[in-house]
Structures are given as structure tokens and as C-alpha cells.
């Protein structure tokens, strides 16, 4: 069981209010991702849940029990740190066994669980090495192993992939998602990378300056961003946000349209512009088009779309994919 509820949780460091006041429900078995720009308080929130920081006000409930004052070890949560935080003088086996040893578990049971975790995570051939002799991805797996042997109520991940190279990151992303599928345990995952959030989450919590901007499934956030912040944060490349008279024509203070929702034509359309930089990714081409009276628009075209710098093109936003925002930045 791993149902976590935050009620009116606040965190201040001296004068600085990092988390003003926050309510959140995390259901058992959910994969929840906290996403937001650096310094918005994601780690702080995770550490509050873990018990590594004291809340300044409010309550944290784990499975209905008030855990606000509980020490970290009593909460039944396991954490994977950004730096992995492996114990450098212990072998992989001892690292993974450490929480069980601290729980005074029987040696035979410890061995069984460690072997099991090592097998799941493909660590068996490294089990007698020390962390210093492992690659980044292997260390990451040891850290995860140390978390899963405890069979915790929930896993907490703090940007676990940010120290890995791009290819490995994609791999580990899949492994963690698969781990969640097989364990069906609650996972809370912190990242600043919206791609990770979109690909892994059941539920995304978008944070900005300690405040929740929106909570929802990846596609909900993609289709119906509640405000300008979420609109700009979710999606890659970023949504085009247009202000002024052009937005007013659509009855909004700001209108937004994603690069993939703009049709491009050489003959006719709503806006005429001139192609600036074009990025050819093979599968897609992203064109940066300069239209008079608007910021540079990013437009997705087919992978083999042949255009040149300075070509004139016509753009038309797809009518049903236009997002409209009011003067307060909220979606209309």
C-alpha cells in the first residue's frame, strides 16, 4: 500500500518560503512525476515526503496515518538520490543488503532478496564490486536495487537519470517504467525534463515556484493546459504563444498553438512568413518561420520537407487545436 496525501503542506527556510501551501493526493500504485524548472521546490517537496526535511505547516498522510512527525525510516518509503548516494566502501551486495541488515532481517532472507534484486536489475556479475568500479548506469541500478529490496510502500526518485548520458537515459527510463509495471508500487519521480515526465507518468504534477500549476495525465496536460506556464512547459518543441491583435482575433489575450498543429502550405493560408532556420531531424523538420507582427513561430513539417532559408510559406493553425488564454494567463 502506498497512498500519500499532502494537506496544506508548507515549507519555509528561514524567511524564504519555498512551498507556500500545497494539497496533493497520490493514489496507491500510481506513477507520479513532479516536473518543473530548476529551483521550483521539487526536491524539497520530495524530501518533505521522505521525512528528510520537517514541514513548516500542514500534514503528510501515508496510507491514512499521519506521518508528519515520523522519522524517515518509519515511513516505509525508499529513495533513489540524484548522486545515487551509494556507500563507497561496501560492495554492491553489501550496499543492497544494508537496509535489510539495519532491519535485523535473517541472513538467509537477506541473501534471497539481494540475489533476487540483483537478478531483476542485471547486477549479478558485478555483485562483489565496489561502486567506484561501476559505470553510471550500473550505479543507478544498484541504488534502485537498494530501494526495492525493502519492499517499500512507495519509491521516491530525485532526478535519478540526470547524471547519465542521453542513450542510457532512454534505456533507464524504460527500465524504471517496466519496474513500475511489474511491482505496481507507488512511485514519485522528480525531474525537470518534461520528456521524462510525459513518457513515464500516470499523473504529472507541474510545479512552479513551489505552487502546483496543474495535475493531470500526460495527455490531459498536453491537450488542455490550464495556464500559460503549463502550456509553455509541456510539449517539445514549445508551444507557440502569440499575443496582441492576432490573439484578439481568436478572442484571447494570448493564443497558443503547438508546432505540430500548424499546417504549412506554399500557396495559401492564414499567415504568410519567411523561413529562417530549419532543423532536419530525419523524421521531422522543425521550421522557424518569421511572420510579421508575431514572435518567430516553430512549425513541424514532414521529415523530407524541402525548404530553404528565405522561402515564403503560408501557415494555418488547426482550428480545434488552438489554446486561448485570458489576461490572467489562465485557459479560457
Amino acid at each position: 500500500m502506498g497512498k500519500i496525501t499532502l494537506r496544506n503542506v508548507q515549507k519555509r527556510f528561514g524567511e524564504a518560503v519555498v512551498i507556500p501551501s500545497l494539497d496533493l493526493d497520490i493514489e496507491d500504485g500510481e506513477f507520479v512525476v513532479f516536473v518543473g524548472p530548476s529551483g521550483c521546490g521539487k526536491s524539497t517537496l520530495l524530501r518533505l515526503i521522505a521525512g528528510l526535511e520537517d514541514v513548516s505547516d500542514g500534514q503528510i498522510l501515508i496510507d491514512g496515518r499521519n506521518a508528519t512527525e515520523m522519522p524517515p525510516a518509519k515511513r516505509g518509503l525508499a529513495m533513489v538520490f540524484q548522486s545515487y548516494a551509494l556507500y563507497p566502501h561496501m560492495t554492491v551486495r553489501k550496499n543492497i543488503a544494508f537496509p535489510l541488515k539495519m532491519a535485523k532481517m535473517e541472513q538467509s532472507e537477506i541473501d534471497r532478496r539481494v540475489e533476487n534484486a540483483a537478478r531483476i536489475l542485471n547486477l549479478t556479475s558485478y555483485i562483489d564490486r565496489r561502486p567506484g568500479q561501476l559505470s553510471g548506469g550500473q550505479r543507478q541500478r544498484v541504488a534502485i536495487g537498494r530501494a526495492i529490496v525493502r519492499e517499500p510502500a512507495a519509491f521516491l526518485f530525485d532526478e535519478p537519470l540526470s547524471n547519465l548520458d542521453a542513450a542510457l537515459r532512454v534505456n533507464m527510463r524504460l527500465e524504471i517504467t517496466e519496474l513500475h509495471q511489474s511491482l505496481q508500487t507507488t512511485m514519485i519521480y522528480v525531474t525537470h525534463d518534461q520528456v521524462e515526465a510525459m513518457t513515464m507518468a500516470d499523473k504529472i504534477v507541474v510545479l512552479n515556484a513551489g505552487r502546483i500549476e496543474q495535475v493531470g495525465s500526460p495527455l490531459t496536460l498536453y491537450r488542455n493546459p490550464a495556464n500559460l506556464f503549463v502550456a509553455g512547459f509541456i510539449g517539445s518543441p514549445k508551444m507557440n504563444l502569440i499575443e496582441g491583435p492576432e490573439a484578439a482575433k481568436f478572442g484571447a489575450t494570448t493564443m497558443g498553438v503547438r508546432p505540430e498543429h500548424i499546417d504549412i502550405s506554399r500557396e495559401s493560408g492564414l499567415w504568410q512568413g519567411e523561413v529562417g532556420v530549419s532543423e532536419h531531424l530525419g523524421s521531422d523538420t522543425f521550421l522557424h518561420v518569421h511572420v510579421a507582427g508575431m514572435p518567430t513561430l516553430t512549425v513541424r513539417a514532414g521529415g523530407e520537407y524541402g525548404v530553404h532559408h528565405g522561402d515564403k510559406v503560408w501557415l494555418t493553425p488547426q482550428a480545434d487545436k488552438i489554446h486561448r488564454f485570458g489576461p490572467d494567463g489562465r485557459a479560457l
Binding site: L52, A73, M79, F81, S83, Y87, F98, M102
Partner: protein, 290 residues
Amino acid sequence: MATQHSKTAARLMISPAVILLLLWMIVPLSMTLYFSFLRYNLLMPGMESFTGWDNYYYFLTDPAFSAALTNTILLVGGVLLITVVGGTLLALLLDQPMWGQGIVRILVIAPFFIMPTVSALVWKNMFMNPVNGMFAHIARALGMQPFDFLAHAPLASIIGIVAWQWLPFATLILLTALQSLDREQMEAAEMDGAGPLDRFLYITLPHLTRAITVVVLIQTIFLLGVFAEILVTTNGGPGTASTNITYLVYAQSLLNYDVGGGSAGGIIAVILANIVAIFLMRMIGKNLDA
């Protein structure tokens, strides 16, 4: 230094320093060696003659020698024990966030800046003196007999004085090591259910081994040569109760004017120090690799 040419140039350029260092070491050492085989007493000038191993024989069979050897081991071991244990505890204390941390740290380091002679005199006259010393006053205030530390527990008193001098060094080294301990490791251990004692045993102490090794190695080198503290406080006495090898060499050569015997003692001290060094490097030097 990749090319043959630059290697030769480098050798050429460091050679003056190397040669100077070598002379600096070799000349006194060989002179001592030479004296140690002479019958050479300052009271009988001009009577020097070659005596073979006699000086060594007399030095090693002198009952004072075995006493001095034991005392040296006790002194080094005792001070190491006190400074490593005490230094670890003090470092743990100083690592806690507290008000006035900077000033407290400087105060803790202060004893290290006091010259051995001065601190030994202060201890002898202001603390341990059975009549005027602070400890005597405290004892009388509590209605007890003052204890004459330097007369009745001379070696223990000297161990205390020397440990007091070296405690700051150990504390400082261990404190810097503590500060380099990854905070996330501590937090991971906390989440893994390790209490304060387990965290100390399984995380902090292994992290400190290298620093402790450094403390032990450096201190041993200096502690083998403790001299001023003994000269100033007990003069090696009563009897030989607080004589270590260094002091015995001094007593032999200068108090007895026996340069030959003293030189033999000096050579024996060098050999002993090297044995200790080899043992230390074997036992704990491996902690310094990696």
C-alpha cells in the same frame, strides 16, 4: 615530460636539489655511524679509539634501554589512542551546526600553536604542581589530598600533556574529512533505517579511515621524538619511569659525556623508527591507495 630530451633536462635540473638533500642527510648520519664505533668520551679528549660493537652492546644491555623502549611504546600508543578517539569525538561535535562555530574552531586549534616547552612548563607549574597547581586547588576544594602527578604518574602525565598538544591536529584533519562526507549518503542511510550509532559505524567511520591513517602516520613520526616535554617536566625520572629512547640518547651522550654511546643509541633509534615505519606502512598504508 614526454621526450627523451626533456627527461634529461629535468634530471639535470633537479639534481642539485637531490644532491644537496642527500649530503644533508648522509653527512650527519655517517658521522653518527662513525662515532658509534668509537670509544669517545668528552671527559677524556684525544683518547678516541675504535671499539667495535661495544657501544651498541652497552646501550642495548643497559636496563634503562628496555625501560625506555617500553615507555616509548606506551607514550606513542597512549597519545595516538587519546588523540584519535578524542579527535574523532571533537570533530563530530564541531561539525554540528552551532552558534559561533568559527571562533570555537580557532580556539580548539590553539594548543597546536604553543611551543612544546612552553606548554609543558605551563602544565607542570600551573596545573600539575602539587602545591600551587590548579588540580591541587581543585582537589583541596573537594576535600581530597592533592596528587603529585609528575612524581607518582610521570609517564601518564607526559602522555596527557603531549596528547593535549596533538589533539587539535587530529581534530582538524578529522574535521575536514567529516566535512567532505556526502550528505546524501547520510540521508540514504537514515532512510535505510540506520540509527545514529549505525550511521557512525557504517558510514562515518569507514569514510574517516584514510584521515585516521594520516593522523596515525604523521603523529607517530613526531611522537617517537618527544623530548622537550620530558626534559622540562620530569627529566626522565623518577628513575627511568618517564625516559623514552630519545631522552635516553640525550642522557647517555650529554649527561654522561659519552658521544660514542649516544651515537650508538641514536643509530638504534633510527633503526627502531624505520621498523615502526615499515610496520605502519604495511598495516595501514594500504588505506592511502585508491
